[in-house]
Amino acid sequence: MEKTYYDPADLKKFPKITEWSEELGEKFFDYYGKVFEEGALTAREKSLIALAVSHVVKCPYCIDAYTKDGLQRGITKEEMMEAVHAGAAIESGATLVHGVQMMKKYDKLSM
């Protein structure tokens, strides 16, 4: 088998992290489950946020999971792609806003 850092089958084993640290693992999964419950935001809206963030943090497991979650919720591919762009825009904006720091430093150092 080809050796890679990421194995899609590992996603199913995610709950196993609790085996090596029961208290923290359980607290995490309780928290995680609670976060995605219907609240002030709908579960559908949270699913789209999760999909956008999955791309920003470049987590292949999360992308698989929330693409499937979106399909299950009837979220369209147009909505999914717009969510990814929203994430990408924030991420590129975060890079570009540092341009202001560069400009300030440039000006400070220049005569």
């Binding site: 199913k12 709908t42 579960a43 559908r44 299950q72 009837g74 369209t76």
Partner: protein
């Protein structure tokens, strides 16, 4: 896009034995996943036993004007299995004496059976509390001779249940065939026009949602909200309830799962979503499924897998509800489809 049934293509998956073999081998044989029998035994629910028979589901033939990619019946224009008038007469005799309150006609496209209208007329004379016809909608538009179906349904107070995998054209046509979405919309408008699906109308029109792919349906109520909003906003269409039905890994959906390399992941999803409280309400506990040739099954899925009821009584000609109710229900790994999440049945979720 599919044009022919597995049967016509002489695909090995057209044989129920082959399907059952796949469902019992691999991840279920090597212990990676528990078999359905072991899983329900964990909560002392094996063997699965029926309660009172409430629904008679009659499959009047496998012929259909569509070749949907997920069809568990492997229906299509090339299927010639059609219930005869003699078998229909035997079914009518059962309907007269059954304790069931619901009669559920399915197919194929049940309307394509040449004796469909006669059968509906005769059955409605007997008086059935809830008389369902599972109509694929496009049949109403398929040929002039079917154009008056909405009026025919109305005349006999038929409860119409129709498939609609999504409120977008792309997803619907991918699963059900080119042009299906537009025809379905037209058919729904005609049903609405005669009163079906309208608020407070007694003419019941429900839609069935099957996921168009290798994933499970989500919360039925929230899907219904989305469907209602989209259909009223985009087309001015109304309906009563949405039933979210899980695709079971048999027949053409099994073919799709294997070809798209989704089979194992799908089975994992079903097993992970196993809900023990769905087991006691699965439809095989209150339904008898009758095939076009009069054989009796625990459900429509077992019918397609040729798993006849485990009872002395196996055919409409010898039908006896008391004897039938004293049987064990036949199960295999496809049953996980009916116990995932909120459960799944021909009437939607069960929990």
């Amino acid at each position: 896009m599919l044009k022919k049934s597995l049967h016509k293509r002489a695909n090995q998956l057209s044989q129920s034995k082959k399907q059952l073999e796949i469902l019992s081998n691999g991840i279920f044989a090597n212990g990676e996943l528990p078999t359905f029998k072991d899983k329900i035994a964990e909560t002392n629910q094996f063997p699965l036993r029926p309660n009172k028979t409430e629904i008679l589901q009659i499959n009047v033939g496998y012929m259909c004007n569509q070749v949907c990619s997920h069809c568990h019946v492997d229906a299509g224009p090339d299927r010639k299995e059609i219930m005869t008038k003699e078998t229909m007469q035997q079914c009518l005799d059962i309907i007269k004496n059954t304790g069931a309150h619901t009669l559920d006609l399915t197919g194929g496209a049940p309307e394509m059976n040449p004796n469909f209208r006669w059968f509906v007329e005769e059955a409605s004379k007997i008086g059935v509390e809830d008389f369902i016809v599972r109509s694929n909608l496009t049949i109403i538009e398929a040929n002039k001779k079917y154009n008056d179906l909405p009026d025919f349904f109305k005349k006999h107070n038929i409860h119409v249940i129709s498939s609609m995998p999504h409120w977008t054209k792309e997803k619907t046509d991918k699963q059900r065939g080119q042009g299906v979405f537009n025809k379905s919309i037209e058919a729904l408008k005609k049903l609405n026009a005669v009163g079906y699906g309208m608020p407070n109308s007694n003419l019941k029109l429900d839609l069935v949602y099957n996921p168009a792919g290798a994933f499970l349906p989500t919360n039925q109520a929230s899907m219904e909200k989305d469907f209602k909003k989209a259909l009223i906003d985009d087309f001015g269409i109304q309906f009563h309830n949405l039933f979210a039905i899980t695709n079971l890994p048999i027949s053409r959906f099994l073919e799709y799962l294997i070809a798209s390399e989704n089979y194992e992941d799908y089975m994992y999803s079903l097993v992970e979503a196993f809900n023990p409280s769905a087991v006691k309400n699965v439809m095989c506990t209150n339904t008898i499924s009758i095939s076009w040739d009069g054989w009796l099954y625990d459900c429509d899925f077992n019918q397609m897998l040729d798993l006849k009821v485990d009872s002395k009584v196996k055919h409409v000609s010898e039908y006896n509800e008391d004897i039938l109710n004293n049987r064990d229900i036949i199960i295999s790994q496809h049953c996980y489809g009916c116990t995932a999440g909120a459960g799944s049945s021909c009437q939607g979720t069960v929990v």
